[in-house]
Symmetry: C2
Subunit: 216 residues, 2 copies
């Protein structure tokens, strides 16, 4: 009558994912995870030796799902415009489906930077140097050539991230805490960002012939 090994384990990871995302590593309670998974706390430790190891399993799974999707968008082959477009689309989409993710992610990154950074760097799909170089070659003129390409990454990521990570406050202060209005704001935003970014690029289009060489 009872669930098979695999099913139970997956149920645990699934529900642990929820709880960890909501409460963080410290805030999460093993009892709550066990309860929500409909099992005994001892069984939880049967499948995962410790809270940490459960957390690792959850985190690994999340990252392993996100990173490939993420890095697909950053192929050096594609044009910068394309990269930005698909990046913005994906990022906004993902956050809308996983609202607490940013908060959780950055919290844990600060609590345990080395562990998580090492883990993420371990993902072979991501090649930071390639990304930076790809951007460097294609920077639109208004990104002053003396500045680091990392500024552009920060810009795009920051603009995508902010309304999601700041939601609880931002929604209350600027949207009268109206969920629907905020959701509308968020869906509108992908469009807005792409329009805006394209607009800025287009204004300088005449100067770009192919791949402007800039030295940094």
């Amino acid at each position: 009558m009872n669930a098979l090994k695999v099913e139970t384990k997956e149920k645990i990871i699934e529900v642990a994912h929820e709880v960890f995302l909501e409460k963080g590593l410290q805030g999460a309670r093993m009892q709550e995870i066990a309860d929500k998974a409909g099992i005994n706390k001892a069984l939880l430790h049967y499948y995962f030796r410790s809270k940490e190891s459960l957390f690792d399993a959850v985190f690994e799974k999340v990252i392993e799902e996100v990173i490939p999707e993420f890095s697909k968008k950053l192929q050096p082959s594609s044009k910068l415009e394309e990269v930005i477009r698909s990046f913005v689309e994906f990022y906004n989409n993902f956050f809308q489906e996983n609202p607490q993710f940013p908060q959780f992610f950055f919290h844990e990154i600060w609590q345990n930077p080395d562990k998580l950074a090492t883990f993420i760097k371990g993902q072979k799909n991501i090649k930071p140097d390639d990304i930076v170089n790809n951007i460097k070659k294609r920077l639109p003129p208004f990104y002053e050539s003396d500045y680091l390409p990392q500024h552009m990454i920060s810009n795009v990521m920051g603009m995508c991230l902010f309304p999601h990570i700041a939601r609880p406050l931002f929604q209350r202060i600027f949207f009268g805490n109206d969920e629907e209005k905020y959701d509308h704001f968020l869906s509108e935003r992908t469009d807005f960002l792409l329009t805006m970014l394209a607009g800025i690029e287009l204004e300088n289009k005449d100067q770009i012939t192919d791949e402007p060489e800039e030295d940094f």
Copy 2:
């Protein structure tokens, strides 16, 4: 009167501030705070009934220090350019001096949105409607007029915030975990943002005719 009392209490708040910022409400330990303040745990509870009340005291103090500074930058009287300039300068400055603040802030905002949002909304210096209206009136043309002014706020805040909140990861991935390089990146960024934002605005300046053009 009780010179000691004040000193102890302030010492507690000071050290609690550190610990809470680093570990968050859940992660912080009363014992650690007591130790670092060089006092007994019982004395900690003598001054602050509970962990929560200590946390509140710390949070209130932080907010009360930041908000006025913050809202000063958002006076509806000043020009949008000025607002952005001083906002970016202040924001970047503050984060450089309080690196863990963003992470801490957003974590707590998500853990207890109502409490903190209510508290922040209680600060009478901040009038969201005024801010939005002020921005609405002065939006540069490339911010499509159909879009909400909140987009612009998200843009500026997001671009300021990102490299700070993402630092542990970003530094490791894109800067070979070199503290100095990252610090340089951060100090360069204020300049970069102002240059970039000014540049974008200037390109549409013909319709506004206000400030002399700078050369980029």
